[in-house]
């Protein structure tokens, strides 16, 4: 089969979802109201609460939710064949992710821009919500560990990406100085910065860097993992304007450039898909498609992390409530596009089925490397870029996404460690907090072998906790809808599917970790299962209570605001 119809069908489904389903959600379910006074106006403070143009807000929202995860997940999951991954990404984006992201945005905007954590205290119950903070901590920890392995693999499999990947740090540092110290025009800085990045890609392509083995007494894999954690630690400690802010910005711009390149070359080259629609001959040791597919692709189909972004920042900047449809739903569509591109690159960039099977030789193999290799071949035939240069472009793109998530993740984890210290009445400084975070993160990575060989075993577990977080958000949305006596089915059906699949996956993985003797991941999995059971119980109780109580008044969101401020 050719990839072009697949791409067009996917695009049509996304377009249909946005035009039809999001309109249905906005008009009938959430009843978005252009005259509702959004938190951005009501609480305007020039810092958190700033009414923002919907296109700019969409840009923020989309670039904060999209990253390496919608590339890694689909690129791993095509091992079951392209059709299951394609269906889950497209249907998931339309009926699950879009609904979830828009719902989180709406729920938060109706509650003074409160975060999902606060909302779960109000609608579900406080204790379960606190338990979920532990899950969020584990979620961040797993993403940091998994991405360290992903980047390490790319640096070794694509040596030409070494110079641009590390050089991008220098570019970001210079951009930060140009903007803040020399106050140069941002448009000019953007052009020069992105130009410099692509210059580095050309340089890296000409000068691939392969580390000697052993280097400083360790294997290159171990060396890269340590280097990445040291980088993430230093980056997370620097003032944000020095590195993280310009890095995020350049990455955001780069995301649009990369998506454009990828989709244009698929359209121009119309590559043939060599991988099977359903893979009957999965390599030994591959877990069963149901339920693992639903947690392997988390971002790109539905992801709880989006709820945190929606409710944490985007909801405070909504100019009009009706903008939520564009920002929330179309933000999910943007991530679906990235996942769709990743699927096509990983299944259509190989010449024969045997080539493809050689790459996907075991579960967790292939993955981003297949995205880079396959996508590189597509770029080559579509835009005529040399094969090695195309792979360098894609590898650099994936590394940059993963690395920015890593440094931001370490920074957030440090805050959690410091907060936990406050609860225990111990003051933890920035450096100490970072060192604790790095020790735990690197510990989790190295628990999968000194070279992080089994690191992608963490991936489905990350997806599981991400999906359970999404279930929490969907439960909150469902309780709100029941209270308002609106049809809760658009929230309840995805909730049931996602919860059952991810809970099932958590239980299945428990057996796998036991057999592999991986006690660390086994314990993490147990914590996730307990948190999930607890929250599920409280959510059901909350929904029954909401359906028994009299419906809330039409203006309840407005009057209940008084309660919230107490």
């Amino acid at each position: 089969m050719n990839a072009l119809p697949l791409l067009l069908i996917g695009l049509a489904m996304f377009a249909g979802g946005y035009v039809l389903y999001s309109r249905f959600l906005g008009n009938r379910v959430y009843k978005l109201d252009a005259s509702f006074r959004t938190p951005a106006h009501e609480l305007q403070d020039g810092v958190d609460y700033v009414p923002t143009n919907k296109f700019v807000l969409w840009g923020h929202h989309f670039t904060s939710v999209a990253g390496a995860a919608p590339i890694v997940g689909p690129a791993v999951a095509v091992i079951w064949g392209w059709l299951p991954a394609f269906l889950w990404v497209t249907l998931g984006t339309v009926f699950f992710a879009g609904m979830h992201d828009l719902g989180a945005l709406w729920a938060s905007a109706r509650n003074k821009g409160r975060s999902i954590g606060t909302l779960s205290g109000r609608y579900i119950g406080g204790r379960g919500a606190n338990l979920f903070l532990v899950v969020i901590f584990l979620l961040l920890l797993m993403v940091v560990a998994a991405f360290a392995v992903v980047i390490k693999n790319l640096l070794i499999s694509t040596p030409s990406a070494v110079i641009p990947a590390w050089g991008a740090v220098a570019v970001a540092l210079l951009v930060g100085q140009a903007v803040y110290r020399y106050r140069m025009s941002l448009g000019l800085v953007t052009v020069i910065g992105v130009g410099a990045l692509y210059g580095l890609i050309l340089l890296g392509d000409a000068v691939p860097v392969e580390l000697p083995d052993p280097i400083l007494g360790m294997s290159p894999a171990t060396f890269w993992i340590i280097a990445l954690f040291v980088y993430a630690g230093v980056a997370s400690l620097l003032p944000v304007w020095v590195l993280l802010q310009p890095r995020d910005y350049i990455n955001g711009v780069q995301l649009f450039v990369g998506l454009g390149i990828l989709f244009t070359s698929v359209l121009l080259s119309a590559p043939t898909i060599v991988a099977p629609a359903f893979n009957d001959a999965v390599p030994a040791g591959t877990p069963s498609l149901v339920p693992l597919l639903f947690v392997t692709i988390a971002c790109g189909a539905i992801s709880g992390f989006h709820g945190m972004v929606s409710s944490g920042t985007s909801s405070k900047q909504l100019d009009k409530e009706t903008d939520a449809r564009f920002v929330g739903y179309f933000g999910a569509v943007g991530e679906g596009l990235l996942a769709l591109g990743a699927i096509i690159a990983a299944v259509a960039g190989y010449r024969t089925l045997a080539d493809w099977e050689a790459v996907y030789s075991a579960f967790g193999q292939g993955g981003v490397a297949a995205f880079v290799e396959g996508g590189g071949a597509i770029l080559n035939s579509g835009l005529g870029l040399p094969v090695s240069l195309s792979s360098t472009v894609l590898a650099t793109m994936a590394i940059l996404f993963a690395a920015t998530t890593m440094d931001t993740g370490v920074r957030l984890l440090r805050f959690v460690v410091q907060e936990a210290g406050e609860v225990a009445k111990v003051r933890i400084g920035n450096v100490a907090g970072t060192l604790i975070t790095l020790a735990v993160g690197a510990g989790l990575t190295f628990s999968q072998g000194a070279g992080g060989e089994g690191g992608l075993r963490i991936w489905p577990l990350f997806g599981t906790s991400n999906q359970l977080l999404a279930s929490l958000t969907l439960s909150i949305v469902a309780v709100m809808l029941i209270r308002k006596r609106r049809n809760p089915a658009p929230a309840l059906i995805p909730l049931a599917v996602v919860f059952v699949m991810s809970f099932w996956a958590a239980v299945v993985q428990l057996g796998d970790f036991y057999e592999a003797g991986d006690w660390l991941l086994l314990i993490i999995d147990l914590v996730i299962i307990v948190a999930a059971l607890w929250v599920a119980f409280e959510a059901v109780v909350a929904m029954r209570r909401a359906s028994r109580e009299p419906p809330e008044a039409l203006d309840a969101d407005v009057t209940e605001k008084g309660e919230l401020t107490k």
């Binding site: 296109f55 700019v56 904060s64 941002l186 448009g187 944000v240 802010q245 920042t313 900047q317």
Partner: protein, 85 residues
């Protein structure tokens, strides 16, 4: 055409500044809080050799005083002569 160009530039700048506005504002507030504590040190009972000079700055602090003491975990004004609540 010029206005479209200007709005594009404004959008780009918002795209740069927006996500970190909160972090930077918080860092600034923390710095201000530290400064406020230094200025108020004498009034709060901590001997301050520079009090003679900082007393002049006191009026500048009154405006945000209420928010400050609540932020510092004191429900009521810690200074008798400032009755903000």
């Amino acid at each position: 055409m010029t206005s479209r160009w200007a709005s594009l530039r404004a959008g780009l700048e918002e795209f740069y500044a927006g996500p970190y506005r909160r972090t930077l504002a918080r860092a600034r507030r923390e710095e201000d809080d530290l400064f406020r504590m230094v200025v108020l040190a004498e009034a709060l009972g901590v001997p301050d050799p520079a009090a003679y000079y900082t007393a002049e700055l006191m009026p500048a602090l009154y405006e945000d005083f209420h928010a400050w003491h609540r932020r510092m975990g004191m429900d009521r004004s810690p200074l008798e002569h400032i009755g903000c609540c």
